[in-house]
Subunit: 277 residues, 4 copies
Amino acid sequence: MRKIKAALIGAGFVGPHHIEAVRRLGFVDVVAIAGSSQKSADAKAERLNIPRAYGNYEVLLDDPEIEVIHNCTPNNLHFPVTMAAIARGKHVIADKPLALNPSKARQMLEAAQQKGIVHAVTFNYRYNVLIQQARVMMKRGDIGDVHFVHGQYLQDWLLNPTDHNWRLEKEGGEARAVADIGSHWCDLAGYITGARISEVLAEYTTIYPTRQRPRSSREAFATSQGQEQYDEYPVDTEDFASILLRFDSGMRGAFSVSQVSAGHKNGLEIEVNGRKA
Amino acid sequence: MRKIKAALIGAGFVGPHHIEAVRRLGFVDVVAIAGSSQKSADAKAERLNIPRAYGNYEVLLDDPEIEVIHNCTPNNLHFPVTMAAIARGKHVIADKPLALNPSKARQMLEAAQQKGIVHAVTFNYRYNVLIQQARVMMKRGDIGDVHFVHGQYLQDWLLNPTDHNWRLEKEGGEARAVADIGSHWCDLAGYITGARISEVLAEYTTIYPTRQRPRSSREAFATSQGQEQYDEYPVDTEDFASILLRFDSGMRGAFSVSQVSAGHKNGLEIEVNGRKA
Amino acid sequence: MRKIKAALIGAGFVGPHHIEAVRRLGFVDVVAIAGSSQKSADAKAERLNIPRAYGNYEVLLDDPEIEVIHNCTPNNLHFPVTMAAIARGKHVIADKPLALNPSKARQMLEAAQQKGIVHAVTFNYRYNVLIQQARVMMKRGDIGDVHFVHGQYLQDWLLNPTDHNWRLEKEGGEARAVADIGSHWCDLAGYITGARISEVLAEYTTIYPTRQRPRSSREAFATSQGQEQYDEYPVDTEDFASILLRFDSGMRGAFSVSQVSAGHKNGLEIEVNGRKA
Amino acid sequence: MRKIKAALIGAGFVGPHHIEAVRRLGFVDVVAIAGSSQKSADAKAERLNIPRAYGNYEVLLDDPEIEVIHNCTPNNLHFPVTMAAIARGKHVIADKPLALNPSKARQMLEAAQQKGIVHAVTFNYRYNVLIQQARVMMKRGDIGDVHFVHGQYLQDWLLNPTDHNWRLEKEGGEARAVADIGSHWCDLAGYITGARISEVLAEYTTIYPTRQRPRSSREAFATSQGQEQYDEYPVDTEDFASILLRFDSGMRGAFSVSQVSAGHKNGLEIEVNGRKA
């Protein structure tokens, strides 16, 4: 029984979930991990029972045993890491948002297709049983023609000015809540209904134009422990947004995304309204 | 124990709810009703145990015993009926939407103030216990500064092309879903948060530009009984809408309203997101 | 239009709800109220806009204008008040539990039947829309043969040792949670399914055998205001109970009732499980 | 990095979940599986990517590489398989119910302790986040002294007379719904509250004393495909039950379990009621 050799690049919040997911399959061995430093890679490798640890992704990509990489780096590294992996002939599982803008996304797709690379973006909610159920109901006509898709994706982990994550810094790129979780919502709207977004109108709001950065680093969703020291820094990405959509099918859409809505840990809702002839 | 003498103008869906509400108080006698014809007024008077029935509202307004009227007429009559009542010195409970446009609403307010008329608009959801609870929590600072208010008001009673009501005809005026139930949502957003809407951006959608009018008349929320005959007629008011809001406090808002969202009988949701300093 | 003349005996928590309910009908005048003293009757009469107030129920029953009385007295007065009303030829709306034991209930029924008295017990939940829906679904066979009915009726208003009400004293009789709210649950189980309870097994628990009585009196569901003085008193009625049931149809049942389950204000649940052939 | 060598005995419904769970850890290799025949073992081994397949558990237990076995056999085999594993010095993860009666459970425990065997029963719900949260809240005193624990565990996968599983046959032993899922509920009641059940009173009901066995075999929760042939067989284990409990702490309990309650796929509810001093 041959096992696929996989590796993880990016030892932050979401990487371990990728590792657990592929280990459940039984035909994948996770053989290596790369972090932003040798130290962080070593620590994660030990915690996750991964044999080899690399201090940067370039070295990992030179490891000839590795067949596929999981790109779980911060958003501004999605493009260079994926392009480097494609160049070495590694297959790629890329985390969302695929890129910071559409032209870079297209560039990656073309490169992957030219090299015959197997590739995927982890829009993991697609495989949630409720989403599968909704899609099946749509496909078999239970809902008829859909004229309206609406909902929300609300979180509160960046509500306080001292909540901190790389997404608030330059590594996050120029969009935040919409790129980070709005991308999931938009993907699901299309996945369930089969329609594609053709027009967009959005209201982005930044509640905290100035935030406090803790002097020690912190992972996504982690909270402060006791007394900490902070430095001020400016933020110009959106804390929340409301978006109106039109789809190529004529369907309308509306949703809100937020990382500052108290009481919502990870609250994703999507509803389609249709009618049967 | 003196009892206030009240009368109902408009014998449709909502009038009987007004009657029940004032009768519960114990100090109001409902003495008269006016319908669109003597026949409909007589029928409703008998069903609701109201002593006097009038075939039009002008005659009712001449009844000197009546002190206050409930204006439960179709939207395009809100203005003339209320103005006529004010002219006769009757106090007025007016159903929403108060008027078809802001200038007429201002005209009524001025007339009422000049005559010393007691007046109210039935934004009845204000007194729902959940709304009261939300407002109290806001006022005592449980939620801190609110930056976002969002929600929806969805119904499905006009989903089918053969669903019919005067709101779809000229009596409804130029707005429908937003005037009819969106007005409630906007009122509650202000009532709970204390802020006022200052800017609006909306997407209105008409799913059925042509509908089928049944040849016999029908009350709100009533459904078809058996075989009916229909005439085609054009509809240009919105079946649903999504609206982005800005408030004078800096708060943002977003909500959708619909009369064609299957599965929602009368689904009103409103949520405020804030933060404590 | 002739109006029925009704009166309320018992000026406590539930009486005003009876008043509101009959006033909504439009063909009932509430003409009198009796309290446990002239003072309490006068106060309630003024608050509820009722013309005449009596300091005891015997005097009220001698009022010849009164046609029907609402018996909203404490449980141990249900029997004598209803029997006295029947003796005067008044029709009776009796609050639940109808009596403290079955033999007294039978005695009242016989007396009412002999005198041709119209009579009812206020199992008001029967007319809740969800209960009506459940009953209709049962009747038209949506659920098939029911083999199991289960649920709960939980409250928390008597959780604390200083929570006080006449139900905890001798006026409450020998059963409390089960008589007070368990009676509703049992009634609904029969009302929905059409079966009658034939066998019962119950576990009654008294959490607080000693409680603190506030020196000032208090209505049902009212809470303490500030500093109060208390006297100890023994309680031997059940704070909560779990009950197994068998029905004449062969159906089984199980439910719990409680007045000491924190977080449940007035939580009634009932579910039927059946199968279609 | 040394990896633990594990094996699965019993290739039915729950075994694959054990496999996925241990594979997620990263330090366990699943090296073998035993089924009721070589054919079923081979099929499962291929589907689950397990290297070695055995046609019976005795042979698997002779495999010297295996350190720990997961006993996922039908209930009547729990005892012999676990005793045989202990005899070979294999560590044991045993599925619930641990045994068909308490004396056999004690026998296994003693054997395991004598041989220094690491052992566990898969009361997996203990590690559900809601259960962990409830337990933490209990431990830190959020709920005070608990006087009542109640709830239900309802399923519907055996509602129809043609629904079939080994639990309905002799392999299931003398209890069914209570052994199968009631055991989870009882475990959780103790796990959350720290109290132990000391007295029990139960009403067991068998809705279908005669059922239809499909001539082809079927896994748990699987449903019939098209036209099948059936043989009648008698069933005397409970389809549902209601149980009253007393705990060593003085706490009372009540719950119902069912495998025939339509609409409940796998509905487990547990609630504790307490009070703070």
